[in-house]
Structures are given as structure tokens and as C-alpha cells.
């Protein structure tokens, strides 16, 4: 891993996330000029996966815990939106014990709910997973992901293995946000808020503990700080963020399915978080963009695009230790360093 000082972020680490969000914000007008509204769809996908990858990076990059659960948490968020909209559309109340809920397609309600539920799932699975470490942690989170996947497949009422169409019009606080551009800016606002808030978190005392414990757990413990509670908190926060991203993906493509929760999607998220550059806030944005663009370009060339994608992952892991962020850093520091 590249060396870094948690107490003094480099200029590029401060400027790059702002630049990335500014570039994304310019996509709809540019798409308008080019007469290519498909670009907005692509940019929305980038934004949604960037949110998820940033959330995951708190655990993988900062806390040093490789989780393969996060596609499951992502899917939990998606299903909250899907199920709430299904009940609204079909006019059938959702019975929650004594309470009956009519359901809704309003994201002002379903987004917080998605974050909450994903956070609760992260808390319950995290309590068990974080008692272990290293490879055990990795395999347990993978198994929990598979469990959530089977859980979604078992939701026969909501489409089971085939997934769930969202037929209602998606709104936010009563306003229709189902059109491409407003939905994109909604997602981008959430990305910006995530970057800003997590930016504070990783620079705080809490963030310092996470990073230090990733490198030397014993030292942190002897310093009087038991890492478990801090890791669990980070795990829950990243679960909430992934839940929000999943809710946005489901709303954007008006569809949610167990396939979004498979362990391969978890692997994709780790790839985005890592290939963009660990322990930076902008790395996952770059990683998500690279992933979506590669997916698009490769799949337009060949239906066997994952062959090339797999090969790219292998080559990047073999050659670039710090991910794509290393490339950028090398390019920007080329003159003064070495």
C-alpha cells in the first residue's frame, strides 16, 4: 500500500472528488448538446455504483476488511424500494405485524427506509463476522451474501428468481423524478453528500482508529482503543450507504432482482473500490466509472466481455498495487518525486 498520512490529506485527495462530481454534473447538458440522452443513463449508473463503492471502501480500504457481503446490502436497499412500490401499485397493504402499510413510490420515504434496513442487516451480520478476522471474515461475509441472495430468491410474491418490476412512477417528496435528468441529479446529490460526510468521517479520530487498526490491531488495543466497536460502526455505516445505492439503482432501472445481490456483484463492487485506489474518496468514483465504461465498451464488442474484464482485473492486480489512483498520482507527482 502506498504511504499516507491520515493527518494531512494531499491536495489531489481534496480536489479530485470535487472535480469528479463537477465533471459528472456536466453530463446532462453535454448529453443535451450531443443529442445523446443515453449518456445520462450511463452517468447515473456510474454515480450509483460510485456511492456503493465509496461505502464499501470505508470497510475495505480504510478498515482493511475485505467484505463480500455488500452486494447483499445493496440488494436489501433495492428490495425496499421495489416492495414498497409493488404494494403501492397493486393497492395491497403490506402487513407488518399489527400495522398495515399501503406502500409508496416516494423516495423521500423509501431511501431512508432502505438505508435503515440495510444498516440493520449490516449490524446483525457484522456482530458475528467481525468476531473473526482475515480469511474467516472474507468467507463469512461471502456466505452471508449468499444467504441474502437465497432470501431474495425465496420472495416468491415479489418475483422470486425473476426479480421485481417497479411499475409505479418514482417520486421524491411528491415530485416526479422518474425522468432521466432529475433522477440523475438526485443521485448525484446523494453522491456529493456521501463524499462530503465520509470525507469528514475518515479524517476524524474515528477514521484514524480505523486505519491504524487495519495496519496494527495490537498497537491500537494497547493504546486503549478496542477496534471491534469501531469496525462494527464502520461496517454499519458502509451498509447504510450501500443500501442507499441499491435503492437508487432499483429506482433508476425500475427493476430489482436477486442477481444484483450475487457474490459476483460483491466482487464487482470490491473491484470498483480497489481498482480506483484504496483509502481515497475519489478512487471508488474513478473505479465505478472505469467499470461502467468497460462494461459498456466491452459488451458492445463481444457478448463474452467478462472474459476481457476478468483479464483486465488480473493484469491490473499483477501490475498496479495501488489501483488506478496510483496512475493518477504517478502522473501528477512525476516531476517532483523521484
Amino acid at each position: 500500500m502506498a504511504e499516507f498520512d491520515p493527518h494531512r490529506p494531499s491536495t489531489i485527495d481534496r480536489v479530485a472528488p470535487i472535480a469528479a462530481i463537477a465533471i459528472l454534473a456536466a453530463v446532462p447538458p453535454v448529453a443535451g448538446l450531443l443529442g445523446d440522452p443515453f449518456l445520462i443513463k450511463v452517468a447515473t449508473r456510474v454515480v450509483v455504483f460510485a456511492i456503493a463503492a465509496i461505502g464499501l471502501n470505508l470497510v475495505v480500504g480504510y478498515a482493511g476488511l475485505v467484505s463480500l457481503l455488500h452486494a447483499g446490502l445493496f440488494g436489501v436497499g433495492g428490495y425496499v424500494v421495489g416492495v414498497a412500490a409493488w404494494h403501492e401499485f397493486n393497492g395491497e397493504a403490506l402487513g407488518l405485524g399489527p400495522v398495515a402499510w399501503a406502500g409508496t413510490a416516494d423516495l423521500a420515504i423509501t431511501l431512508p427506509l432502505a438505508g435503515l434496513l440495510a444498516g440493520i442487516v449490516a449490524l446483525v451480520t457484522g456482530v458475528v463476522s467481525l468476531r473473526t478476522s482475515g480469511p474467516y471474515f472474507l468467507m463469512i461475509t461471502l456466505a452471508f451474501d449468499q444467504m441474502l441472495y437465497y432470501g431474495a430468491v425465496a420472495l416468491q410474491k415479489y418475483g422470486g428468481e425473476d426479480g421485481l418490476q417497479i411499475l409505479s412512477t418514482i417520486t421524491f417528496a411528491g415530485r416526479d423524478v422518474s425522468a432521466r435528468t432529475p433522477f440523475f441529479y438526485l443521485a448525484l446529490t446523494i453522491l456529493a453528500a456521501t463524499v462530503f460526510l465520509l470525507g469528514r468521517v475518515v479524517g476524524s479520530r474515528f477514521g484514524v482508529v480505523l486505519r491504524a487498526a487495519a495496519e496494527n490491531e495490537r498497537r491500537v488495543t494497547v493504546t486503549g482503543i478496542p477496534p471491534y466497536a469501531y469496525r462494527l460502526t464502520a461496517f454499519v455505516v458502509s451498509g447504510v450507504v450501500c443500501g442507499l445505492a441499491g435503492a437508487l439503482l432499483a429506482s433508476g432501472q425500475q427493476f430489482v432482482s436477486p442477481a444484483d445481490m450475487s457474490w459476483v456483484r460483491s466482487g464487482d463492487l470490491v473491484v470498483m473500490a480497489v481498482l480506483g485506489g484504496l483509502s481515497t474518496l475519489w478512487g471508488p468514483i474513478v473505479g465505478a466509472a472505469a467499470f461502467v465504461v468497460l462494461e459498456l465498451v466491452l459488451s458492445s464488442w463481444t457478448q463474452y466481455w467478462q472474459l476481457a474484464f476478468g483479464a483486465i482485473i488480473v493484469v491490473v492486480v499483477l501490475t498496479l498495487r495501488g489501483g488506478l489512483a496510483d496512475l493518477v498520482k504517478l502522473a501528477t507527482q512525476g516531476r517532483d518525486a523521484r
Binding site: T125, G310, I313
Partner: protein, 290 residues
């Protein structure tokens, strides 16, 4: 539940358990000794099934398919180890996950490219296709009994090798203390490659034995990989004994869970079991590393 049904499910559970053991023993050895997490182990399982099915389709001989597929999968494993994975033994687990994940994606697509999206069939030879009445009222497919016997035989053989031979002593030393292992003056590179190939061969065997029972299709390796990882974790990483006990436990719980519980809970039973065990024993039932 009648006795016959119970006995049949019991046999199914044990048969599934020994298949899982064939997968998990390779995983747990490779992890215990090389400290390497191999998500591509399921791809080797898939390779075994496809190779056997392809050879059988070309020659008409099931036996020939088996005889070719096992060494071919082992060779594939050795090639992966030699060409790629050995560079990652000293890297962190994240890099290992990424590189083997990349290999999984490539293996799935390459298989789809070569064999097409339609599942292959592996018809059984006449001698294995029928059923046997084990005791009056309990009729059981012959091939499943063969799978069960082969699995138990391999487990027994592995136990003999690990417990009674010099190589086994080295393997045991290696999985509990790596420094001792390399100090024992063995050609580590060669043994690692051999061990990896051996694990790959077992995965291939598991895959080709699943072929006639399940479908030979792309992605078939992943559900079993995940269950094998669960077995490895429950048993304690690096422990062959733990892998065997956990494989039987998982095989039985999974089989009976699917029969006796509602579908949603049935497929999740095994993961709940794992969570429960790890909540009390975070290093598995038979922990190896101090």
C-alpha cells in the same frame, strides 16, 4: 417422515457431504499451507465436469471421460499455480481475492465461448444408471452409491497420507506452522505446485461426479464453492479432519433443511448454522493456527 424417506435423505446428505469434502480438502490445504484464498476453486470443479462430458461426448465412453478429466483438471490447476497464483502467496488477501475473482470471470466466459450456453448431458453407462434395493423398501440410485463410496475412499486415503506418511507430516507441520515447514528442507515450490494440482484434481473429481446428477453448465462451480468455503470455515481453516466433519454436517443440514423446512429457510439453514458456530468458535470447530 417414513423410514425409507429418512434413510434416502440420510444417504443423500452423506453423499453431498463427501462431495463437499472433496472440494473443501483442496481449499483448506491450499489455504492452510500457502495462505492463499482461491475463489477459482469452483472453476476447477466446473472444468472437471465439462472435460468429462466433452470426452464422453466425443468417445462415447463415460470411463474414458473420468480417466481424462481428473489428470487434465489437475494439470490445469498446476498451470494456474505455476503461471499466476504463486506470485500471490506473499500478497495480501485482498489481492488474492481480486486475482482469483478475475480468473472466475474468465473461466465462466471461456467455458461459455467453447461449449455454448446450453447445459451438457452426461448419460451414465448402463451398469451405473439403475437403482439398487439396499434393504427391502429402500431403493437407491447406483451412481449415487458409487459417488458416496468414492468420496469415502478418497477421504480415507487422504487421512492415511496426511497421518501416516512423511509428506503428510510435512503438510500437517505446514498448516500449523509455515516456518517449520520451510525449515524442513523440502523443495517448497514443487510441493506447493503438487499440492495445488492435487486439490484441483479432487475438485475436478467432485465436478465430474456431480455432472450426471446435476446439469453440466456454466456457473455450476459457484454454489458449491460457497458451500465448500462454509465447510472450510466451520471446520477450521487448514484442518482436514475439521473439513471432513464440517462437510458431513453441512451436507446433512443442507439436505434435511431443504426437505423439512419451508424453502426460504431451507436454503438459508446452512448459513444460519455457520453463523451460530462462528459466534461461539470464531476459528471453527478444529482450529489449527494458534
Amino acid at each position: 417422515m417414513t423410514f425409507a424417506l429418512f434413510a434416502e435423505q440420510l444417504l443423500n446428505g452423506i453423499q453431498f457431504g463427501v462431495t463437499l469434502f472433496l472440494m473443501a480438502s483442496g481449499l483448506t490445504l491450499v489455504f492452510g499451507i500457502m495462505n492463499f484464498i482461491n475463489l477459482a476453486h469452483g472453476s476447477l470443479y466446473m472444468a472437471g465436469a465439462f472435460l468429462a462430458a466433452a470426452v464422453q461426448a466425443a468417445t462415447g465412453s463415460f470411463l474414458l471421460g473420468v480417466l481424462v478429466a481428473i489428470p487434465a483438471t489437475a494439470a490445469l490447476g498446476a498451470a494456474l499455480e505455476f503461471g499466476l497464483f504463486r506470485r500471490f502467496y506473499a500478497r495480501n488477501h485482498l489481492d488474492q481475492v481480486l486475482v482469483t475473482f478475475g480468473v472466475v470471470l474468465m473461466a465462466n466466459e471461456a467455458t461459455r465461448l467453447i461449449f455454448g450456453p446450453v447445459p451438457l448431458r452426461m448419460p451414465l453407462p448402463e451398469a451405473l444408471a439403475g437403482s439398487i434395493e439396499i434393504v427391502p423398501g429402500l431403493v437407491y440410485p447406483t451412481f449415487r452409491l458409487v459417488v458416496l463410496a468414492v468420496g469415502l475412499a478418497v477421504a480415507g486415503l487422504l487421512w492415511l497420507v496426511v497421518m501416516k506418511t512423511r509428506l503428510g507430516m510435512w503438510v500437517r507441520a505446514g498448516s500449523s506452522n509455515r516456518a517449520i515447514a520451510s525449515a524442513m528442507g523440502v523443495d517448497v515450490g514443487l510441493v506447493f505446485a503438487g499440492l495445488f494440482a492435487f486439490g484441483a484434481g479432487l475438485a475436478g473429481l467432485a465436478g465430474l461426479m456431480a455432472g450426471p446428477i446435476l446439469a453440466v453448465q456454466v456457473g455450476m462451480g459457484e454454489p458449491i464453492l460457497i458451500l465448500a468455503l462454509v465447510v472450510t470455515v466451520i471446520g477450521g481453516i487448514g484442518s482436514i479432519r475439521g473439513a471432513f466433519a464440517a462437510a458431513l454436517l453441512v451436507g446433512l443440514v443442507d439436505t434435511f433443511g431443504r426437505v423439512m423446512l419451508p424453502p426460504a429457510l431451507g436454503s438459508m439453514a446452512i448459513f444460519l448454522l455457520m453463523a451460530l458456530i462462528l459466534a461461539f468458535k470464531p476459528k471453527g470447530l478444529f482450529p489449527v493456527h494458534g
